[in-house]
């Protein structure tokens, strides 16, 4: 007789038998049982001893093995020994093995879910284990359980399905300018769980499966009456209101939109003459010398000729807020014509009163027009000829020698060399030969305005804060404004400038001093502001500041002038030279060195700087980009190149010890670089 034998273990004899039967897939009737060890119960699972039984499948009881070629019993024993599992550690979690054919094991307790109904099928072997999962609360005989729990057919399982509701939300808000009304909608979201059908299992984690329903309960009428309540009358967008009532996602929808005011056009001058050619460049010969005779043609005008026609400003169109209020457009200003020497304005016509070359400079809506004569100086400028100061253009055919000065309102052209001299020009400076130990200044008024602009930049911040502080003080309970009638607000201002806004007074003083030094270069508005600030600094009582509101005028004037200082003048000044050494060169516009570079020279440009040749030592500051062929030298000359934050520096060959500054970031080069393009990236200077 061939028999199959298995030694099986368990906590007690029953379990040991059961475990063995499970492995053999036999019922108790099909085996002979021999109890080898009854086992011992331990205390708190410690020190216990397993029960051990020997199960033998007798041949006649075995229906499977009879048809197969019989292996030897030793083979079986070794096979089965390997298959012996130590059941003593089993727990409900580890039994959670899915049966391939669960219904074929009718002896286990099984759980089935059909149509939302949980049924525990009776069995006399394993008990069913149930664990709650997401979206469902489970109760055993009315009591909730949170971990794996054993069920028998006598236990009652009930459940509650979760439901998450996010109710609908909506609100309606204005933007700051009352130019739009936005409806912010969050539709209702309901997440409901239902039980999923599950086949019979001995272990089951019961969880709900979610379905989400999104609903928008908003009615157009609700929105319309809300708009009505908010007094919105203009620009209601019914299509968007419908959209807001239909959308199934969180959204911000503009349901009413005002009309923005349309800016008009400032007044201007239509010129009959070609002012563009005034910006022309002189011709550069092949050998690098400059031929100023070939400078772009600047037209001459005859007495009585009409230079241009003044065009009136076109007012903008007012806008409308959603509340139906009118928004005035930004004011359009008429052209501000400063008719200088040789120019008269007759009605809307600008007429040349003299013959000569017109000089036209514009900055925003300001037009400075004058007709300038040209002074031609045939030889050198030296002690014998004396300095040249001229209201017009100056052309020097020779050199400008030591300690001499040339100062012109218009352009200065020098065919020779400039040595230890001082050249000033209201417009451009063009020099054909070397500039040595000299100072060149072009576009003084523009430079001045940009300096004043920087002061106003800071002052503007102060004035806003001061106005705010005064409003606070006036609102303070203990404050009496009784002295405003007699003394105005200067006493109050004075107290605030004493400590709270300590920095403002030096700025005001600085502005006043700069304007007074250069009165003749500035327009009236700059002087008016200087007079106001002088009253504050010197604490002179007058009617200018009699009530807090008057500070708003001061603020507006500061803002206006600040805006003017930001506008580039047209045409801007320009300096073109072939080479400079130990010199200082200032220009409100572009600077070009067109041949041999420079040595120990300081450049300051309100525009860009372009240098052919090498910049050796010295410094180059530009408000716009800088391009230089070569910076520094083999021997390591510290050479500084500086531009503001948003600008770039290009250098074809940068020797080490070149220092690049962009905004307030600095980078010194410790080796030579070719084809440098320096910009600021992520707060540091990078070289591409």
């Amino acid at each position: 007789m061939i028999s199959q034998t298995l030694i099986s273990r368990g906590k007690d004899v029953d379990e040991a038998i059961q475990n063995g039967l499970n492995i053999l897939s036999k019922t108790i009737e099909e085996v002979d049982i021999e109890i080898l060890d009854n086992g011992k119960k331990g205390i708190l699972l410690v020190g216990g001893k397993d029960a051990k039984v020997k199960l033998t499948v007798s041949e006649k009881k075995d229906s499977i093995l009879t048809n197969d070629s019989p292996p030897t019993s030793t083979d079986y024993e070794s096979l089965i020994d390997e298959a012996v599992v130590d059941w003593s550690v089993n727990d409900s979690e580890e039994v959670s093995v899915n049966h391939d054919h669960p219904l074929m094991e009718p002896d286990d307790h099984l759980i089935v879910i059909r149509d939302g109904k949980v049924t525990i099928l009776e069995g006399d072997q394993h008990y069913a284990t149930i664990k709650p999962g997401v979206g469902v609360k489970l109760f055993k005989n009315g009591e909730q359980f949170l971990t794996s729990t054993i069920f028998t057919e006598k236990d009652e399982l009930t459940y509650e399905l979760d439901k998450e509701t996010h109710s609908m939300e909506w609100n309606v808000t204005f933007d700051d300018d009352y130019l739009s009304v936005v409806c912010h909608i969050t539709p209702e979201k309901v997440k409901e769980y239902h039980l999923v059908d599950q086949e019979a299992e001995r272990f089951l984690e019961i969880h709900g499966s979610p379905t989400e329903t999104i609903q928008n309960h908003l009615e157009p009428n609700a929105l319309i009456s809300k708009l009505d309540q908010l007094k919105v009358v203009h620009g209601i967008n019914h299509a968007n209101i419908r959209q807001a009532c239909q959308t199934l996602k969180e959204e911000r929808i503009v349901i009413a939109e005002g009309t923005k005011p349309q800016p008009g056009e400032n007044g201007k001058v239509d010129f009959n003459i070609d002012i563009v050619s005034q910006k022309g460049k002189p011709k550069i010969n092949e050998d690098g010398t400059v031929d100023f005779r070939e400078t772009a043609y600047i037209p001459s005008v005859d007495q009585g000729e009409v230079l241009g026609t003044i065009v009136e400003p076109i007012p903008g169109k007012p806008g409308k807020t959603v509340l139906g209020e009118l928004i005035p457009p930004a004011k359009s200003f008429p052209a501000n014509i400063k008719a200088g020497k040789g120019v008269e304005v007759i009605d809307d016509q600008i007429v040349a009163a003299e013959s000569g070359k017109p000089q036209i400079q514009t900055r925003g809506s300001l037009y400075k027009i004058q007709i300038l004569p040209t002074l031609t100086h045939p030889g050198d400028v030296n002690i014998e000829t004396g300095n040249i100061t001229f209201t017009g253009d100056v052309e020097v055919h020779g050199n400008v020698e030591e300690e001499m000065k040339v100062d012109a309102i218009g352009n200065v052209k020098i065919a020779g060399r400039v040595d230890h001299a001082d050249i000033k020009s209201g417009n451009g400076i063009y020099i054909s030969q070397n500039v040595i130990n000299s100072e060149l200044t072009a576009g003084r008024s523009n430079l001045l305005i940009s300096n004043l602009g920087r002061i106003l930049e800071e002052l503007s911040e102060y004035i806003h804060k001061i106005i705010h502080a005064i409003q606070q003080i006036i609102r303070a309970r203990a404050f009496k404004s009784s002295d405003f009638d007699q003394k105005g607000i200067l006493p109050l201002l004075n107290i605030l400038l004493e400590k709270k806004f300590k920095g403002a007074k030096p700025l005001m003083k600085n502005y006043v001093d700069k304007v007074e030094e250069n009165k003749e270069l500035l327009e009236d508005e700059w002087l008016t502001l200087a007079n106001y600030l002088k009253e504050i600094v010197q604490f002179v009582s007058s009617d200018t500041f009699s009530e807090p509101r008057d500070l708003n005028n001061l603020r507006d004037l500061i803002e206006q002038l600040r805006a003017i200082s930001h506008m580039p003048p047209e045409p801007n000044s320009k300096i073109i030279i072939p080479y400079a050494m130990n010199s200082k060169i200032y220009c409100s516009g572009d600077i070009e060195v067109i041949r041999n570079g420079s040595y120990h020279t300081e450049f300051y440009s309100g525009g860009s700087i372009t240098i052919k040749g090498a910049l050796i030592g010295g410094e180059a500051f530009a408000q716009s980009n800088i391009y230089i062929e070569e910076t520094g030298s083999k021997s390591g000359q510290a050479t500084l190149v500086s531009v503001p934050f948003n600008q770039e520096i290009k250098i074809d060959y940068a020797w080490q010890d070149t220092i690049l500054q962009i905004g307030n970031l600095r980078r010194q080069l410790h080796q030579d670089y070719r084809w440098v393009r320096a910009i600021v990236l992520d707060g540091e200077i990078v070289l591409n």
Binding site: A469, Q472, I473, A476, R477, A478, F479, K480, S481, S482, D483, Q486, K487, I489, P491, L492, N494, I495, L496, E498, K499, K500
Partner: protein, 109 residues
């Protein structure tokens, strides 16, 4: 506005009664300053503002000027019992910082 001077050895306490405003100008310039200057060897002056409910900017200016005169005489100055509304105003104007003296808020307002 009125004031009351209490003189004890080298300490003076000046109590102000009424609004510190433009109308107090004469009082400060013609009475108070000359009177204090007469007294020699003062070490400390306490200015009691418990009875001052309102101030205007001129009044604050007068007070600043007065304190500066006193400090020029090498006298220690202290503002006392300043009502909370006035104290708030002084803080907005940074009066204490201007004068570099102590401003003490009163308990009653």
């Amino acid at each position: 506005m009125k004031f009351h001077i209490d003189h004890q050895q080298d300490l003076i306490q000046i109590s102000f009664i009424g609004d510190l405003d433009l109308e107090a100008t004469e009082l400060f310039e013609e009475e108070l300053i000359p009177k204090v200057k007469e007294v020699v060897n003062i070490h400390g002056v306490k200015l009691d503002l418990s009875e001052v409910p309102f101030v205007d900017s001129t009044g604050v200016g007068l007070l600043i000027h007065f304190v500066e005169e006193l400090k020029a005489l090498e006298t220690k100055v202290k503002l006392e019992n300043v009502r909370s509304e006035v104290y708030e105003l002084f803080s907005l104007m940074q009066v204490g910082e201007i004068l570099g003296i102590e401003v003490e808020q009163g308990t009653v307002s």
